[in-house]
Structure formats: C-alpha cells, structure tokens
Symmetry: C2
Subunit: 431 residues, 2 copies
C-alpha cells in the first residue's frame, strides 16, 4: 500500500474531525512498562455457560421501591447503561399482571379454535417445524413515559425511569397467518382472542387484519428460548403495537366476530382525551426518542462527547432524529445507525463539544409517515391530563455548569402533578 492510498484511507476511516483530543499527548516515558496483574496469573477456565464480569453487576432493571406487589408491576430496562440496539434478555423490561408462570415446555399446547374450519392444537415441537421468521422489533408498554412526566419535574429522573419500558429483540417464530390458514377461517371471522396461561388468564382482542399481516407466534428471543418474563415458551409478537396486546405464555387463540372487551382493553389500556372522550383499541405506539448519554444523574466534563440515544415508532421506520442543544430553539440532525427492521429501535448519535456552559439538550424522532413527538404542552392539549398511556412528549436533559445532568423538563402551569393522577392507578409508573 502506498502512502497516498494510506492517507486516503485515513481520511475515509476517520470521523469528520468534529471531536477534540481526549487524552492529549503521552510522553514516551509515561507509557506503562511491564505486565498488568492479570498477566501474571492464569485466568479462569472455559465454562459451559457464561456470566457477566463481576464489575458489571450494577447493571440491573429498575424496580420501584413503592410497588405494592411485585407480581403486578413493571421493571425497567437500564437504557443509559446499554449500547447499540439489542436489549440483553436478562435486562428486557417486565410487565406482569399476576407474576411469571413456570411453564413446562413438554406440557405446552397452543389451541386455535372458535370460528375456524378445523380447531387445531400444536405442541412446541410442532410450532418449531413450521416456516419461521426472525425479525427485530421493539416492544413497549403503553404506560412507558409516566415517570418521565411529573409536574414539577422529578429532578432524580434517569433515562431508565423516563423510558425504560421499551426493549428491542430479534424475535423468531411462526407467522400467525400460517396457523390461521391451517385452521381455515369461517365466514364472518374478524377478531382473535389470545389468552395467556398466567394466573390473570390475561386476555385481549386482536383484529384479524393485523394478525394476518405481521404477527408472530414467537418462541425465541435474541437467539435463545424466550425468557420466562417475556412469555416462555410462546408469546405473541405484534410489531409496533403496545406491549399489552402481545400476549405472553400464549395458550389459546379463539377466532370470533367481535372483540371480547376484556378488563385490559376497557378499564385499563384506554386513553382519556382532553374533550372527555375515552378511546379504546389505541394500539399503535407513536414515535418516541430518549437521549441515553448524557442523561439524568450522569456527570460529564468539557470537551467532545458523542450524544447517543434511542428512537422508535410503531407507525414505521424512523427517518430522522433531531437534537437540540439550546432547549428547543434550534434543531440539528443526528446520524442513525442502520436498523435491521422498520419496527426496530434505532440508535442515534450526534458529535458534540461541550463548552462548559449550562444548557438543555433534547431529541425528537420522525417516522416515515411524518409523525413526530409533541412537546409536553402539545401532548396535554390533545390528551387528558388524567390519561396515563401513550405519553410520547420530548424528554429534555439539563446540563449544569458543573457537568451534572438532570431532568430538563419545564414546570407546566395548571398541569397535573403526574399522569393518571385522577382516579386511576399506574402500570408504567412507580405508583
């Protein structure tokens, strides 16, 4: 390779030169000499099943200390401690309605019945013989964001507590359309009623059109069997829709002509509008984004930082993420890592040199349908102040002159203290 080619590669390979030197020069005399301690002893041996470094044990899901029951609450993915877009299975957020059932896969059966020509029953092995699909999809609790909204703002907020009820996995399963084709739909079939085998017999109504489009009867998550908290051995994956309809520990699907109007689609998971109306069946998740670095309770120093965050939308591919470095006055375009699928979380990045002055940073995502995120004011102009689902307003982080990062949201005059404050509990909140 000649010098000219090398210089071309150097200029091609390097970033746009927007970052400053972090380490400065290092005198030859200061280069550490000799071996580290780890080089003086044999390390640990091969293992059948690996574990994390002992120095990473504080990377855990967040569980509110205020929960009345750990059977019916939620745990949050530690977003600001993760990189890329894969959520490690041990850290995927949880949301349960009656705890996590311990299902023996040898006993597992999935029944499809109701308005079908041929009721069917599948073992787990039956399902695995069928044509499979692997796709990367986010799953998000409809209540995600409740902790991000407090009035006045909660100054102890982290990215985890703001938006940690979203996770992203590579799911493998059988397209539900294949099972329905096997069963044969009867004239008039319009809805599916999936039921879980947890102690809540968790039940929802899924419109047939979505089921035939892209819904998976999934048995693997990021390469391995689905984890118990995520629905082992089999769950529905309903791309882009609220997590609560993606029934876990799936035991049967009844085909019907009308929705079942279960508790979890009437008294729960419905949306209160500012005009007093209440909407049911609001399944699609609107665009959201969260800056994970720098974010709440982190500490930064002057100089170069790559601002990083996550964006996603249930309506389609994220086309653009914008960053504001001045509290929302001006917006600049972040770069996006390639995402494997349209309804996957995407990682955004923005090269930034912090000059040490106090400022407020924000992100907002735009999807391929042209949807974006509202400000808090805009959100509450449309949605009622005692609504507690589908909150997707912009999250701001304030960086103090001391480099400390805290919640940058504003206090809103006349707004409630929290989402769902009027007369309803909370699934995504810390209630």
């Amino acid at each position: 390779m000649n010098r000219r080619k090398l210089l071309q590669l150097l200029s091609k390979g390097a970033a746009a030169g927007a970052f400053v030197k972090l380490s400065g020069g290092l005198a030859q005399s200061k280069i550490p000499q000799g071996a580290t301690d780890t080089m003086k002893v044999l390390g640990t041996t091969l293992r059948e099943y690996g574990e994390r470094s002992e120095f990473e044990k504080d990377v855990i899901r967040y569980i509110s200390p205020n929960l009345r029951s750990r059977h019916t609450g939620a745990s949050f993915s530690p977003l600001e401690k993760l990189e890329g877009i894969v959520t490690p299975n041990s850290l995927h957020f949880e949301r349960h309605h009656a705890g996590v059932p311990n299902v023996n896969p040898a006993d597992y059966r999935l029944v499809i019945h109701g308005m079908v020509e041929r009721p069917l029953m599948f073992t787990l092995q039956d399902l695995k013989r069928l044509p499979s699909v692997t796709r990367t999809y986010f799953i998000e609790c409809a209540g995600n964001g409740q902790n991000g909204y407090r009035n006045p703002p909660d100054m102890t907020l982290t990215a985890t507590r703001s938006r940690g009820l979203v996770s992203n996995s590579s799911w493998t399963g059988v397209p539900l359309s294949i099972l329905l084709k096997e069963a044969g739909l009867k004239e008039g079939a319009r809805w599916l009623i999936p039921e879980g085998q947890d102690a809540a017999a968790y039940t929802r109504s899924l419109p047939l059109e979505k089921a035939l489009d892209d819904v998976l009867v999934a048995y693997a998550q990021n390469g391995e069997a689905i984890r118990p908290e995520q629905g082992y051995p089999v769950r529905l994956v309903v791309p882009g829709w609220e997590g609560s309809i993606q029934v876990k520990w799936l035991r049967r699907i009844q085909v019907t002509d009308t929705p079942v109007m279960s508790k979890d689609e009437t008294s729960e998971y419905t949306d209160v509008m500012a005009d007093g109306k209440i909407y049911a069946f609001t399944w699609v998740m609107d665009p959201e984004s969260i800056i994970t670095y720098p974010s709440g309770l982190q500490q930064i120093s002057r100089g170069f930082h790559e601002i990083r965050g996550l964006a996603w939308s249930g309506h389609g591919r994220i086309r653009r993420v914008e960053i504001s470095l001045d509290g929302g006055k001006t917006w600049k375009q972040a770069s996006l890592e390639p995402a494997p699928d349209a309804l996957s979380v995407v990682r955004f990045k923005y090269n930034w040199v912090w000059d040490g002055r106090e400022t407020v940073i924000m992100s907002r995502a735009w999807d391929e349908k042209g949807n974006t995120q509202p400000t808090q004011e805009e959100f509450f102009a449309k949605w009622a102040r005692n609504n507690r689902y589908h909150y997707n307003a912009i999250q701001a982080w304030r960086i103090g002159a001391d480099g400390k990062v805290v919640n940058g949201d504003k206090t809103l005059a006349g707004a409630p203290a929290r989402l769902g404050a009027v007369g309803r509990g909370g699934c995504g909140g810390e209630s």
Copy 2:
C-alpha cells in the same frame, strides 16, 4: 375489511403451501377445558436480572472431555439449539490461550504507541465518549471445522461439534481509524501489534490497511458490556477475519513497519498446502454453512420440516445458499433471512416434506465475490492433509429411514484420520 381483502391477506401471509398439516383436525370435544396448573397460582415476581427457564438449562457450550487444560482450549456454541442469528452472550464460543483475565475497568488503559506522532493512553470512559459504531459481525476460530473432519466420519458428530466455533454479535466500539488519526501515523508505519492483557500476553500483527478500514475497538456486545470470555472490557473486532487476530483484553497497540512474527502467527494459525508450502497471514474466513435442523443426533418424523441453518463468509455478503436433498446430486436454493450487515451470519431456510426414505442433506454457501464451499475431496486437493485451519468443506447429514440424523460425510480413501494429524496439535479440535 371485506372477505376479498381478507382472503388476499391470507394468501399473502401464508407460506407457499409447501408444508403439510402437522396437527390435523381437533374435535371440539378434545379442546382442553379449564385452566392449566400455572393459572391457579401467582407466578414469580419482578427481578432485577433475569434468568433462563429451568427447562432450558441443558442449552450450554460444548467442552471436550479430552481437553488437557481448560485454560487453553475452546468451548463451542450450541448451534442446533439456537434460532435466528444472535448468539446469546452466555453461549458465544470461547477460545483462550491462558484463561480469562479478570480486568477491573477502573484500572483499564489502552495505549497506542510506536511509530506515531503522539503516543496516547485512553481510559474506558475516554473510549466511550468517542464516536461509536454498532455492527453485526461473526467471529470464527480459524480452527473451526476440525471436529467436522474425521476419516472415517465421526458418527456422533453434532452441528455444535462440527462448526460451533463461530458466533455472531452486534458489536459496539470506536473505529480504530479514529484512534490512529488522533495518534498521527509516522511515515513508514505499516503494521499494528495489538497485545492482550491475559497471561499469554497474546500478540498478533494486523496490517494497517485493514485497521483503517473497518476494525473496531469494541466495548459492548449485544447491547451490554463485553463478557469476560470475549475480552472484557475492550477487544479488537476485525470483521470477517479469523478470530485469533481479534485480540481480547486489549492493552496496547504498537505501530510498526514490520509484523512481529509472534508464536500465534508462525507456529500456530498458519496453513500447510498440498504442495508443501506453508502460508502465514491467511486471515480472511472463506464461506461456510451448516444445517442446524435437522442435524447430527436429532430425530425427525415424516412430513413437513423447515430445514434451517447458518451461513457466513469473511469475503462479503452471503448471496445464495443451496440445499441438496439427494447427497449432492441436485441443488435447490434456500431462502435467506435479511442480515443486518454483510459480514454477519445469515439464517437460511428451506421448506421440505420428508417422505420417510433415507437420504443425505447438505448445504453450501456462495458469497458476493463468487466464492463457495468445496467438497472434502476438493478441500484436500488444495490444502495439505495435516493442515488444521480454514476447513470449510460441505457438511452432510444422513437421515435414516427411522428418522435418526447422523454425520453424512463419506470415508475418503487415502485421507488422514483427522485434520492436523501430522505433528501438530489442535485449537478447534477436541485434541
């Protein structure tokens, strides 16, 4: 939605109709009534860090019982028990030369020195502030496949033991080109000498051109910190090249004008040709594929099966995978799941109805450069019979009339009993 639209969706959503009914009809009277046992008790509570189902504990890496030391051997990913393309971090294959060092990230330093304008030293936090890249790449031991080759064939072979020294992850890190640009290369710089901080002080030579192209100084793997076995806290990721050059527990990179000719690029990881020549610096992994279902020691029954497997190439994107159902006489094209990056493993699939007659199935991969896999005969015509690296011949599986699946490779007249049989040990084999 009208009936016509519904039927269109059904026909669009379903597979090509190539599979037969697995479950047959189920009389209404046989539909299970009442709740499962799991529905009668509250399940387990939220957890800060999740674990696998107790019923999945047999999904583990394979470690040969014949290993003389578990510090210097390898463990194999259980390929036939995994789905999709993500290798769970706990199941990523291992290959160590002196065990796994326990590195404290607070003490971690990366030094870049030698033929540079400014020697540099980075903490882990320094590295994480810099521009990052997340990409999905396979890593494969150059010795992968050694167990797949035995003459006569090993009838106890599994997909794990045949090709389990390959794994696939989403890696996050700083492009090495950025660090080198910061350091400033001196005239005449041509090679990098990365060194690990394990007890082997594992050392290799990496040509500058590759380093400036796509090499990552990686600190995250599938979203979380790299696991100790994979190089915690920092390793090189050298896309498409043999795993042995992707130095783990990276402590320094010396810039030089010549390679260092370390043990692991001279007496190890060099290739013996049939004409007696020995090649060093054979870094790029040639195309490979392995059918993971049905595969060695599995048992199938008549009827529909989705044949599944994995394919990869260090030369570029996998363009085509072919399946033979008649021992290599004819070949049919498998379908490929979309792969996130060119140098990622790709999952292939083929719809098949087994009629119960004994047969031999095979796969072979083609990459975008037109490379494909040789037969065993072709492999040994080029490579010496005591070579033990870069074995990428086609793996066959024989399905007996009883549905039992075993190694389908042929006995080769005049061929050695195993790779590396003459005078050399084995890193990918079960020595």
